[in-house]
Amino acid sequence: MAGVSINQARKDFGSVSVLHGVSVEIKDSEFVVLVGPSGCGKSTLLRMIAGLEDISGGEISIGERVVNGMLPKDRDIAMVFQSYALYPHLTVAENMGFSLKLKRAPKDEIASRVNRAADILGLRDLLGRYPRQLSGGQRQRVAMGRAIVRDPKVFLFDEPLSNLDAKLRVQMRTEIKELHQRLKTTTIYVTHDQIEAMTMADRIVVMQNGAIEQVGAPLELYDAPANIFVAGFIGSPAMNFIEGELRGGEVPILDFGFAQLPLSSAPATAIGKRVIAGIRPENLVLEENGLPATVSVVEPTGSELHIFAAINGAPVTAVFRERHDLRPGDRIGLGAVPGSIHLFDVETGLRL
């Protein structure tokens, strides 16, 4: 096993730059998720680690070895693809043992390693089948089995759950996490789904437009997003943003013009500035003298109540754990849980 060190990695396609020098240190046996909207460069970065894309600049090391220019097979990695990429003409066992066969491993060693991986993933009864005879979840497991059999230093996952239905996705999420806890192989996992990132990662790398926005543990990102992009991207439903002015005084006050909200604390340097206030939906509470809002849609999920409302015309989402009898058109007051408001600079978008 080994860590992965990415140092100022750049990728250009002709004159177009898609990765502008990103650096991340991934520790041995860590589960790191690269997350971001499509086109942010996360898959390109993963493919550069795998050796499927050239590295235009910078350096990528796996363990102690710099792998720039090294062939994928020499990098000691295994990759799981979005479409699973199982060889349709080979059985499950042959698919899983393919890389060992190429290395001319002895037959009984291939068999024992395939069987061990099949046991881990519950594929023992499917070894003789062809991929087309398997369900989506089973194919996904075979793709992971193919990776496990190689016993690589690093697992690379490229959106492996995108082709599965919602229920199976949740189940496979847990399975992959359990697998990692069991094998402790360094894992780099690419997804556009922030819930996958939050639930699976030891650390998340949030990317946008070919650059890293923030790196941190899931709850670090959730509790202290470094900028508006990360704040809006992590968390579902997404964080609410309202622009206002920060006023000083005995208690700092957020002045929205049509209403005001007292803050428990605010950075002194930001007093008097225009700011964007970010409030997570679950941090909103019903309060008679809170911000005036009009309910537009009510969505009970059973465990929670999602309210879509408008504050001074701006859309706001609130999530309540307790049940309220609310209807579209109702006028309510919304307040914030003390200390839960995030402040961002209007110009730079950075956290204040």
């Binding site: 295994a78 479409s83 087309r132």
Partner: protein, 296 residues
């Protein structure tokens, strides 16, 4: 059992009920057209086979007899006596060698055209597609080809015809195989590369097994095209032993009138391998051409 691999990727075709009933009248029309085509194509064939089994007297009887004659194998004996069967073997060898080279060159070429980016890729491929009809109407190229080959001392050799046949059939083969390779997901190439094969290994371990139906279709087309070739076969070689069969069939149209019996007998013999191939491999042929194998 070999899995029918590319099926995994092809979506099932859907025909709505409304569309099915709307096509009823069109279906009748298509059926009538097919029957007409079968009669038009089948009649000379049946007539030829029947003629090949007629004796000299039955041949020139008037009014002509369709089935009312004593069948005889005399014509076949006469054809065999000229060494025709040996030339059939020669022709067969030419075609097999041509098919081998067509596939050996066509598969990597098709793979490169589909998977690699290189300068002039698009114009080069257009040139290949454009040369498909050119190779069928190769008579136009005969004089320059003959002059070049004669200067290089390649005429009247055992390898000249397989070479020409391979060249003729290559464009069509590349076109068919490229269509098949297009339908193989690139992620499979990448998975195999991560698993430890080279680009050539991808060709062997992934592309080759997955394009088998298209390879079969391309082989059949190349074989049939080479087997039926006439012009180059009659010009490029002179030695009787090197002659392919198509010009030999023609040789029964002699100086002193047409020998209909041996002519039709040799033509029937020349058709046999083609018939055999389509009876044996007809299914694969259609599958290879329809399963996303042929795309522009």
């Amino acid at each position: 059992m070999q899995p029918d691999a590319p099926r995994t990727f092809a979506p099932a075709p859907r025909v709505s009920v409304a569309r099915r009933s709307a096509t009823l009248s069109t279906q009748t029309l298509v059926l009538a057209l097919v029957v007409l085509l079968i009669v038009l194509n089948g009649l000379p064939f049946v007539w030829g086979v029947l003629t090949s089994m007629k004796s000299e007297q039955d041949l020139f009887r008037f009014p002509p007899a369709f089935f009312d004659f004593e069948p005889t194998l005399d014509n076949y004996r006469r054809v065999a006596a000229t060494g025709f069967l040996g030339n059939m073997l020669t022709s067969f060898a030419y075609c097999i060698v041509a098919v081998f080279f067509v596939l050996a060159i066509g598969l990597p070429a098709a793979y490169a055209f589909d998977r690699y980016q290189f300068p002039l890729r698009q114009p080069l491929f257009l040139l290949i597609v454009a040369s498909i009809p050119l190779s069928i109407g190769a008579a136009a190229l005969l004089i320059p080809t003959y002059i070049y080959f004669a200067r290089l001392g390649l005429t009247n050799t055992f390898f000249v015809l397989p070479m020409i046949y391979a060249a003729h059939q290559l464009p069509m083969t590349i076109w068919i195989l490229k269509g098949a390779i297009e339908s193989i997901p690139r992620e499979l190439d990448e998975a195999a590369i991560v698993d430890g094969v080279s680009r050539l290994g991808v060709l062997r371990h992934v592309v080759l097994p997955l394009s088998r139906p298209a390879l079969a279709a391309a082989s059949i087309l190349a074989f049939v095209g080479s087997w039926n070739e006439f012009v180059a076969g009659s010009v490029m070689v002179d030695s009787p032993g090197l002659k392919p069969i198509q010009p030999l069939v023609y040789s029964f149209i002699g100086f002193f009138g047409r020998e209909w019996g041996p002519l039709t007998a040799s033509a029937t013999l020349a058709m046999l391998p083609i018939l055999l191939i389509f009876i044996l491999f007809g299914r694969q042929f259609v599958a290879g051409l329809t399963k996303g194998a042929v795309k522009g």
